[in-house]
Symmetry: C2
Subunit: 332 residues, 2 copies
């Protein structure tokens, strides 16, 4: 392994200890050492937003905890769901009296544990709503879109719903914004290498140099098929065509475009991919309101990239542009 | 190669085309397609700051072009100096009537070309000053510190000098801030893998899994020695001890600490390294004014990390905290 860690068993707790040491003014632990919240939580009178999921995807998930985005995050072990108790601890710590919205990716363990956390929170008279992210078009067809996995598209929902909550909206209104954002969000990825969970110590699958797997998930879930690596323009066209065909925006629509690196792919390569995506998006009569190029949702040291496109109306565009401050993401 | 590009010959121009397509409100080309400037350049009445160097290190160099930091950047091919003409083009485009400060890393080609550009600019009555970054303690001993290479420490000089210029300071004052920042800045890196220049197509050196090279440069320049990979805490201690022993801050000093990823190293691993660095820094009686954990200066898909520590006085701390907005870096 070409990686830095101490004991694999303390990988996540060491990481979180370093995180809170690095950003003590922004982030704090809950009662549970796997609960990360805004240092100023709870923000009284504001709808609180929480997420959660396995480690190994930074900045997803905890990187979006901060002003104008999320209030807290339950942090699981690498590629493993956090527990319902960890989610409940986050929920208690961030509740500011106006309810809590969960936004998280569509993975079995996360869904089960967030549902349990919801039941426990409601016994404590905390109103909880849930919006599940299922943006990965490679993971299921449009006729069973509710089975799709959640990937980088969640960042757009964190941003718009977070801005709506910061503006004083109700739980109903914040929930509606998250749903509206995700209804117009689609993603697809391509992997060029596997990655390694420290406690496992070897890759979960093989992917030879010169191969690519279009549609692979962020935990190495199988994609559409394995192929010979193509040029950046060809890869960009494959991703953009799949995402746009599924989203089916109308000519004249405004979109946000995220060209996301999965870990080991240099930013330079991402800009080469983005260049072609931008041409294709404009070629369909769409206008790019904002581009996001960099690492937003990763898979440890996996080489690869994903494309997310989010259709915007005036309100969503304004919410994307609203100020946000987290240690990993700033806007405005 | 596990990478995305088209023709290796157009790697940098494709990348820059994608960059300006992604951030059209922030960045623009100069007359030369290797010249990147603020979209609002020149800012009249402000000292202008320029940098330059080879591609392959994003966000270094062009990622720091923006409000509160740099005005322009000459972009070379991967790991190659830009030309004097490209630097001159940047210089002309950003000059706002109060002179231009060059801040760049200590590499032979860059020094030669920036010196030529300076001569040409002065023939056009543009006053130019130069501050060379030489922060890598592994590259030469303290008795010949002027021979050291420039690595991630340049980011601190971009930030403080950029903020000083944005506040309306003179060329003398901005130059002094850059020099004062760098006089208190030291770095050292460790590599766990090589990286690949697209036009070469294979690694420039071998580094086997399970090995590390402490002190390796960001182009693969040899380090102190090759060793068996140690635990994150041991690596952090090696880096922190070397940097702090050379910098020799006094107990009670405030510092900024940058734990920088070289490309393929996950942010999670960087926080594990940072955790130990933070303990060591505090153990020497220093206080961490601000931590920067992430990718600030990279070497394509190289696995590895570098540590930079910058000693601050009240003015430098204030300049670090001042607002900045670039597509890759935001503050305040």
């Amino acid at each position: 392994m070409r990686r830095f860690f101490n004991n694999p068993d303390t990988y996540v707790t060491d990481m979180l200890d370093g995180l809170v040491k690095a950003y003590p003014k922004a982030l704090a632990f809950g009662d549970d050492p796997h609960a990360i919240v805004r240092a100023d939580a709870p923000v009284e009178g504001k709808v609180a937003l929480a997420t959660g999921g396995g480690s190994g995807h930074l900045p997803v998930f905890l990187g979006y905890v901060g002003e104008g985005m999320l209030d807290g995050c339950a942090v699981g072990d690498v590629f493993n769901s956090p527990t319902a108790e960890q989610m409940l601890d986050v929920t208690r710590r961030i509740h500011g009296g106006k309810g809590v919205l969960y936004i998280y990716g569509n993975y079995g363990g996360d869904v089960m544990n967030f549902d349990m956390s919801t039941e426990m929170a409601e016994m404590e008279d905390i109103e909880v709503r849930t919006v599940i992210v299922a943006d990965d078009v490679a993971s299921a067809g449009p006729d069973e879109a509710e089975r799709r996995r959640g990937v980088a598209g969640m960042v757009f929902a964190f941003k718009t719903a977070g801005a709506k909550a910061a503006a004083g909206a109700s739980l109903d209104e914040v929930e509606e914004i998250a749903k509206r954002t995700l209804a117009g969000t689609r993603s697809m990825g391509v992997a060029l290498s596997p990655c390694i969970i420290p406690s496992v110590g070897k890759p979960g699958f093989d992917l030879a140099e010169g191969e690519m797997e279009i549609g692979m998930g962020i935990h190495g879930e199988p994609g559409a098929k394995r192929e010979t690596l193509q040029s950046a323009d060809e890869v960009a066209e494959r991703l953009a065509t799949a995402v746009l065909d599924d989203l089916a925006p109308a000519s004249g629509d405004r979109v946000a475009v995220m060209m996301n690196g999965l870990g080991a792919t240099p930013p330079e390569d991402l800009f080469i991919l983005y260049r072609k995506v931008h041409e294709i998006v404009e070629g369909r009569g769409l206008s790019v309101h904002k581009a996001y190029v960099g690492e937003y949702a990763t898979s440890m040291e996996m080489a690869g990239a994903s494309l997310t496109i989010c259709r915007l109306d005036d309100e969503l565009a304004g919410l994307l542009d609203a100020p946000a401050r987290t240690p990993f993401f700033q806007e405005g």
